[in-house]
Symmetry: D2
Subunit: 301 residues, 4 copies
């Protein structure tokens, strides 16, 4: 089901290396791409660079902002930009109502402003398909970090995966594929049953305290303060924590440091460890999304 | 989290070999068990046999009916019974309102009657935990059937799994573990993304027609008429279909036969191919369920 | 590296369903095939049937006898033959010295006779490539037998594989792929190290006695009397033995029966459980073998 | 089969972090350990440090030199040494004939000298058990390097493993466990058959030229100049080579650089990426080795 993007004009705004791989894929499907904040990127044939965000919004059918979204002042992450790209009130007011604004995570302020101005915000980071595909580079990034941080092999190690969601399943499966003894920690009995089926040792979150003492590597994917002082106290001092939960993670990092437990926060791995794969994932998901958004918008108009 | 059943009285009504393995496990947890329709079963120490269902309902705290439920006339499947065990109006009226009736699948008529009489029906077959654990014997049973029905090895075969639900995931994973080339067929893009992550070739249901021609073995788990005349026409005549969907399955069996395509219906595998495992699965899930039901009932009283 | 067989004349002598799949594959590569003992087989276009073995040997460049070889009186297994096909002295004397005789297993008497008569016997069953590929249908056959013979699932079972040779590795890997807890039993420390790497619990043969008590299913692939009275005594009475070792197997079957332990002998599985795959395996290995034999013979002449 | 080392005196000479983990394990088995070239190591209770190698050789039953052996001038690698530790003629002459000298790789000069002096050299790096167990940290190290060197995920990548020996099998299995499409390249048809059984695409070395164009990551484990100019020319310019073959590797690194192909040499990974696991592997293999050597020596005396 390849979706054609012929005749559709897209603005790619800032981002990182992922966008460098994404743009040619969208062009291959027929899209015309306008780039903002990409001045210092390696040249991409057919890409039209414009100087400001304001210029871009009036020329396109869809706006594509990066996965990281904006900071609290509206600054868009733009690794290859010459000057700051800011999504401010003036820009927002200039966005035509039928132009959807796709962005990884949207801050509350942005959502409110968009709401008032009648702009359609499409948050992409939590699209199930995208989140599952992104779990692949995330899991590999976490594995790489664990390999770097430990003097042991993952093979034969006691590895715990806390939280069996999109990233948790992928990570647990890969760890087992390498040869680790994987313990899957979750709250739902259905998840624990599935963990058992897949060959992980299932542990209910409420029993984690009794089990964590044998962990050599702990991967946390649960967006909750699971690895708190009490839990950290139960852990081996030479265990290593890789925390994949979105900021601020689920670990009491200060306390871990005090105990001498190495704990690393691993945010936004896909764009860092495998930008090419992550860019291709976007290229796989965005076309359908764009077409769906445009047909919805047009149906409303 | 082992749940104690000390002091709790349970009636096990009919069933098959699973119940033979289930009863001792429940006894180990402290339950007192009354059996109905188990006269011809191998003797189980500590089991009290009663002659009729009516006798049983007045003596116990919870009623456990088999996974298959009853037929349209209320007849309970009882492989080891001497005489028919029937869940009729008289029995239903005798069930105290605080005694939950657990049963795999409940027919609509039973649900309506129970509703009117204020009896709490607990359908267990669709409990997520139980359904996932039961997918293990189901998948192995389907694999065994496929091994028996084909002149090829699963290793190296083009095996399609239609429907990526509880049984579909388990089956696809096991097939890959043996060495098959697995194609996972689903409708949701999230399921297709997960299929890709797990190493299956993802195919959208709407593209199945174009792909099914290369299938050597097709496992259907989708409760819908997927393998209809049009689809069967596209299949190789020496392909084999194993249909795991609940009755009547998802295959046009008559048409398959006409085309010379071997198609087998595989209903209720857990109790047939691995009754001991299936009984232990019940023994793993029921205690929590029983305690939860009793505490709910008591809270209401 | 597809080998062409253009202009080469082959006799396929007896055999079972494998040969039915093998012949067309050899024909596709250009070989001219003469069949003996195949009168009742489904008709194969282009196959020339001859009435006697004597007739065949004078017309071809290479003789292909079945994997099972002959019985002690020279009788060739010929599932689809009309009358007995016998490899007797008269036939042997008629085989030109430059015509290699390929056969699965050759009895000592046959080898001696061939030696005296200057006939080149090529035993194929122990060709490493063929033996490894045949381990796939063997392992699946053993898995199927275990599924049929036990009331438990392989998933989650304690499965022992005794002997980590060609079939042992394949079987252990597949069992783990299904979800069994696999114990690999061997004598060499290198094999035990590899077992650990692959995720099996390694047990030295000399420690088997201490471990076998926890086995639920025991697969024997070692051609030695490993499962003797002492070992059987240590086993659980409801364990199941699948013995894959060549006749007479490695189990004291009588004693097992006396103890109530179910023990099954599984000889020659490839041709039985997956003749199509097994035939294709022969078709994959034979062309290179034939060409190598012919060039050796010609070099000698 | 835990081997006791009670009453046995061992010298651990130089080495790296592996030895830090090895020593306590040997002590646990009852060995008395003398250390040379370990002055700056974290203190190990019960370890007796001596100042020179000469001092050590007269006090012990077995000498344990590091996996890396010595350089051409006899210098022993000693990460934690205060002053150079040299295995020179004087030292060799002082080694009693019944004291075996265990060392990873021994240079030819060392072997000749030992031969003349009647010293038993035991090369450990090629012990099958040790080599297989060491393939685990080697493979993980190679995977870590590949993750760091590529902008793609291993999952879904076209990964080639050249050489299916001890490290090749482990690496290929782990890559598949992560989700890579693995191509196994070897010369022996038996290895290619096993590769097919394990789910890798088998490619004969003589066909590599036709296939390597699709490789995204190439792992070389063959100690031969496989990745020469001709082969490199056929590769994609953005492919990455991880060369695990012992020095000087199997890649024309200069030519690769000229073509813009990233190629990395990965020697001696176990001690670098997972010293704790590598030390425990030594601790698993050495006791049996030591006992075997001592009993051989004593039998000879």
């Amino acid at each position: 089901m390849v979706a054609g993007l012929k005749g559709i004009r897209l603005a790619v705004v800032g981002g990182d290396d992922r966008e460098i791989y994404l743009i040619p894929e969208l062009q291959k499907l027929g899209a015309y791409i306008v780039g903002v904040g990409l001045e210092k990127a390696p040249p991409i044939p057919g890409l039209t660079l414009v100087g400001t965000l304001l210029e871009a919004v009036s020329q396109v059918d869809v706006l594509l902002f990066p996965m990281f979204g904006t900071d609290e002042r509206g600054l868009v992450k733009a690794k290859y930009g010459n000057s700051p790209v800011v999504l401010n009130k003036e820009v927002l007011q200039a966005i035509p109502s039928k132009v959807p604004l796709c962005i990884g995570w949207a801050r509350q302020a942005l959502k409110s402003a968009a709401d008032m101005l009648g702009i359609r915000i499409v948050e992409t980071a939590n699209l199930p398909e995208l989140a599952i595909l992104n779990s692949i580079p995330s899991a590999e990034g976490a594995i790489q970090m664990a390999m770097e941080a430990t003097p042991i092999t993952l093979h034969g190690s006691q590895s715990f995966v806390i939280g069996l969601g999109r990233t948790g399943w992928t990570l647990a499966r890969m760890l087992m594929g390498i040869g680790a003894h994987v313990t899957g920690v979750a709250r739902k009995s259905a998840d624990l049953a599935r963990a058992a089926e897949m060959g992980f040792q299932p542990v209910h979150l409420s029993d984690l305290e009794d089990q964590i003492g044998r962990a050599e590597i702990v991967f946390n994917t649960a967006p909750a303060p699971v690895l708190d002082r009490v839990m950290l106290e139960m852990m081996a001092r030479d265990a290593v924590i890789i925390d994949l939960a979105s900021l601020p993670g689920g670990t009491d990092f200060e306390y871990a440091q005090m105990l001498g437990i190495k704990a690393l926060l691993a945010p936004g791995l896909p764009g860092i460890v495998a930008p090419k794969t992550a860019g291709k994932i976007l290229a796989q998901v965005y076309p359908q999304l764009i077409l769906r958004q445009l047909s919805t918008v047009n149906a409303l108009v």
